[in-house]
Amino acid sequence: MEETRPEEEFLGSSVDPVLEEPVLSKAERAGFPDWLVAYGWILVAFVAFQVIAAIVVVIGLFTKPGADLSTLTSPGGLADHFDILFLGNSMGQILAFGVLTLPVIYFVKRRSWSEMLPLNRDPFVWKFTALASLVILLGAPTVWFIAWLNTLIPLPAALVEIERQQTEMIEGFLKSDFNVIIALFHVAMVPAICEEILYRGFALNLLRRTKAAWTAILITGIIFGFYHLRLSQVIPLAMIGIFLGWITVRSGSLIPAIVAHFVNNAFSVLLVKFMPDSPLADSSPEMPPLWLAAGSIVLVYVVLSYMKRQTKPGEVSDVWAPSQ
């Protein structure tokens, strides 16, 4: 009997074992190429996210005592209504990236939901989850260093000014007397689940059908970097996206990426809350001490090398090839 490739369990076999005919998704039967659905839905989800968030913010300003719509037009006016902003952001992410992505996944899946939302929870996955979280924590100075390098790229002054205002607003909130649990929910938990469903679940696995895994990882990572609309942070964000893509492919599960994403965002919230004077908490960083950056890079390299050597039971060597 032919041995089943874990890859096939992960992405769904493209051939029916009984009829020996290709198993096609609803999208493929309707003639939609995978790349069109992947990029198209990322774009639509992004627009839907903005629209939903805007609607929630407007409704919030209408209903909240002491707030009105003039807040939207006055510079820095929203800074006093962070609860509404966070609510809008989370609602947008939950609905656009989470709930609305599910019917699209139904449209593109060939056999089971686990092709796009693999949630394997074997010991290998948990080990990978712990190691990925460790990389995120050890890599914080590396990200700081890359973020600093990113700031050296000249950007239009108007854009820098908009980003500076946004950063000041967010820092102002995080350094205020905010509820940590609520901030962790809005800043860490919701994005970790919803963005991973969209980028590492839906887009990465769909692109992997026709592209080599590394190509799919790079594309989704770069889009993830740009999606945050912060050009001064594109490179570190894209690198985090690429890392999350790599651990998803390597582990065959979304769980390590979700947990590592949560750890990354939660670390920032906790740092700003409990160590507001730490240079790591400063979002417009100066160059980090070189010993710190170098030490972080070496440690990340060691852990990544160890992760790379780990082999999933039954794994085949061509896990990086396109699945169809």
Partner: protein, 177 residues
Amino acid sequence: MPIAFRFAMIFAIVAFVGNLIVNYMVISMEPSMTMMFIPSVAGGVICLVAAIAGLLVVRSYIKTTGLRVPVGKGAVIGLVTGVLIAVVSSVLGILWDFVDPNMAKNMMNAMMGAMDSMPGMDEASRQAAMDQMMANDPTKFSTRLMAMGIGVLMFGVVNLISGMIGAAVFSKKEEAL
């Protein structure tokens, strides 16, 4: 894709000429609040007119090949047509700079004049909007590139939809015949 290219060329010229007419109309108008909305409304209308290209390309494809086009393939044909329209009309816009190098600047000045005449807008917001307008200098390469990107998105999406509609409608008609 020669059919797509032919229709894209025609509709790119239509979009380009439409934009030109709107731009010169706005430049020659007295500053008013209405003026602010004319380019957006006209842009929407031009986009909808250009969407006909997606329908026509799919129709021609079905008629020429006699093949049934699935909705997904119609979407791809429409998308390619839309992208071509955006690129060709942007290139025509750049070439127009040689004919009238001041049009883009005059258009920006007209819009700033309109912004100045808007009632009920506080000074800080007005200044912020003006600064943003100044930062998006239409003669800069980055602004042109961004405009082309937006055009690719707009024309691409509407033609993708019209291509899908075209595939659904004309494939059925072909089958009925």
